[in-house]
Symmetry: C2
Subunit: 455 residues, 2 copies
């Protein structure tokens, strides 16, 4: 056991500050716009977000202190291990060194609590008693249920009805942590009641669930809304992942050549990549050749086939307009199993970096991601979540290229969560029931036609 | 963050030797007997177990070296964290300090791989190519599927048909790791074919699945059988848990006053308690007042209501007779949700220690265990497996006693696994659908009448 499998940090090495990449961008981030096409005042969102979160959303400070109570809650599972996939390297016969940051060790089984905990903390700090959110497969919903319980806030989750019925496990997980979970559309909001009046069996959608959660938060002074990806403050919180990984690489005297993260809304990719990009922006020699690759599903290819433009963050047009890569807010991704990557747009920060050529984007087909996930599981033992399988597909392909060229590159990816809640997706893959889906050009053109004409 | 939440060890601190409590018993363990009532020769079991495992089963050496390849595989998730449940302490208002060893961090989500890995290793060492086993809820089956894949052996699992149909998640987990899983009774064995001939829809039982797995192993020279609890070598392997916990307590200068482990077959209780009992047997002052409590379900109370006698390890009478606390091998435990604790007997080593008054036994009702599990989950964030909830019930009750007496006791329990595969049990509890079941005296008397008249 000369080289360790897991590179661990002590609890006191949990970062004391989050890293804010907005401080290091060559051009300022494009501001969110209101429906009139003018930059919106942050106070316009004060009805649903607490002041400290709005400040973080707009901040261009490089380092933002992590409150001690947040660090104490992180300590339940953080620092997470950086692991070397030496068995996978051997099976691939690659000279590359493959590392992964394992975020599946959190109580919710994914990286999402990294942002859920501070969001709950700041809301409590300003006197908020209740949080609402929407959830599809339940990853964010369960993380905010966990965080709310840890920090003493009530949580109500609007869960897309079809998931509520077909995926009871994460719903029960949320209830075990004390959250109220409602099938959306629900009779609890105007939005829900209007839909149910004409279609009582409506299967729901993420867009409708967002509308319900926002409507409730906006109408109750004791209640705020939370979002698990896309926005700047979420990527700020997730920078923990990369900051810890940097310390862990320093312990073993290595530095990554290529970093891979799955990319839907962008929080897991930004979380692992941004702190390393900081070194590149600072002109550090070790980061001079660093490549960062955002890996998205071929069936929902916002970064690789979308347009860099202003669009709504949600399907219904309730949110401010954000400048990002988008497939059009009307785009409905097909039923792929990486629920966390089914998003029509992408984080404005990630989008800007892709647009400026600082970050590469890559789209991979669904079956190839499960093939990679199973190859990884059989080599390393850990069953990855379907989202993580996207990064694994890309890292295996890169390791195989290294085998051809003989380059001993250091590869790093974000293993964002375990797949213990996703066994039905693995079952469908193993039974040969999963399909690939490439977005037809006509459909793409049609979706993009819905882009608002502002910005 | 003055006191750490998680006490971690480095990879090189994974123990180099397992602890064998058989070396320290005041009277030698009672030998297993054949159907003729005479001690069986270990070679009688050589058709299904490899030599090194049989040696460990009979060994009275105190320390047995852990092969380096086994330690390297352990390093995927070990050393596991020792954690302080400080939030639970606060919510209970107890002066007690509550610690738990968290075994849910393994790829299979439980402590079972601690023994699956060395069992796979020793079988490969003697040239075995395939392993068989039985599984009910799937905890052991998935652990041996993981270990077989890690060490290069094929695995075939006979899964009780009713679980195969109703609990597909762990089945898919096994398949993801490359194991073949068959519903039992199956057409692959004599035993299975005989049953299916008269009852094609037979729901199966653990006893039948054991018979199928043993039959196949006995009839194929390249194939051996594996068992996940009860036997001495399994408890030997699980001693890792307590050995690591001792090192972790030394780091913080504390020592437990009371240790709690859930107890079905006995591997998780023995795993955490035996290395501390070693200190007591050695006359160490710090262990003079140590109490160890095995916590079992009230519905399957072998240690608290069973008889200390020779009985078969399986339902069908295929195995040697072992001296243990038993409810009679015909006893069919009711459908409680802690599948890992549904066993008519108990480890002979744990049984002997209970019989000699070195270990206490306690039975708890089902609903109270889920109540405790949810209380724990809401305080500490981690969702415990239903088996672990038994230990949590006992530790909360002890902490509340400490609140009355003002004693700042140090309590330790084994959190044997996460509950992410058990959300349906939590759901039934939350919906008020779970029932308690106390074994009626008549039924107990009837079951005990089936005890064989040997030994």
């Amino acid at each position: 056991m000369s080289e360790p499998t897991r590179i661990l940090l002590e609890e006191h090495e949990i970062p004391t500050h989050w890293y804010n990449i907005a401080a290091d961008l060559s051009t300022p981030p494009a501001p969110p716009l209101g429906p009139d096409g003018k930059p919106i005042d942050p106070s316009a969102m004060a009805a649903i977000f607490p002041e400290p979160i709005l400040e973080q959303e707009m901040s261009r400070e490089r380092w933002i202190a992590i409150p001690e109570a947040v660090r104490e809650t992180y300590a339940i599972w953080r620092p997470s291990p950086l692991m070397r996939a030496v068995r996978l390297e051997r099976r691939l016969g690659t000279p590359a060194k493959i590392f992964f940051k394992y975020e599946g060790v959190s109580p919710a089984g994914s990286h999402k609590p990294n942002s859920a905990v501070p969001q709950a903390y700041y809301n409590r700090q300003v006197g908020i008693k209740r949080l609402t959110t929407e959830t599809g497969a339940g990853q964010w919903g369960s993380s905010i249920a966990f965080a709310g319980q840890m920090l003493g806030l009530e949580v109500r989750v609007y869960m897309v009805r079809v998931s509520y019925q077909q995926k009871p496990q994460r719903r029960v997980l949320m209830e075990t942590w004390g959250a109220e979970v409602h099938a959306s559309p629900s009779p609890l909001t105007e939005t829900g009641r209007r839909i149910l009046a004409t279609e009582p069996d409506h299967p729901g959608s993420l867009g409708i669930a967002i509308s319900e959660a926002v409507e409730e938060a906006a109408s109750r002074p004791d209640t705020n809304y939370t979002l698990g990806s896309v926005l700047n403050h979420v990527l700020l919180h997730q920078s923990l992942i990369g900051l810890e990984a940097k310390k862990q690489f320093e312990k073993i005297g290595l530095y990554p050549d290529v970093i891979f993260g799955p990319c839907g809304g962008g929080s897991s990719f930004g979380g692992i990549a941004f702190p390393f990009l900081a070194d590149k922006f600072a002109g550090e020699r070790r980061a001079a050749g660093l490549r960062c690759v955002a890996v998205e599903p071929e069936s929902c290819p916002s970064l690789t086939k979308g347009t860099y433009a202003y669009d709504y963050g949600d399907a219904s047009g309730f949110t401010p307009l954000m400048r990002m890569y988008t497939l059009g807010h009307d785009f409905v991704p097909p039923g792929i199993h990486a629920g966390g990557l089914r998003y029509h747009g992408a984080s404005p920060l990630v989008s800007q970096l892709v647009h400026e050529g600082q970050v590469e984007a890559l789209a991979v087909p669904q079956r190839a991601t499960f093939e990679a996930g199973i190859q990884f599981a059989r080599a390393e033992g850990i069953i990855p979540a379907p989202e993580s399988c996207h990064a694994i597909r890309a890292v295996i392909d890169e390791a195989l290229r290294c085998k051809e060229t003989g380059e001993p590159k250091v590869l790093l990816f974000n293993l964002t969560g375990h797949g213990h809640f996703d066994m039905s997706a693995y079952e469908r893959y193993l039974r040969g029931e999963l399909e690939d889906y490439t977005l037809p050009d006509e459909l793409l053109a049609e979706a993009l036609r819905t882009l608002p004409s502002v910005g």
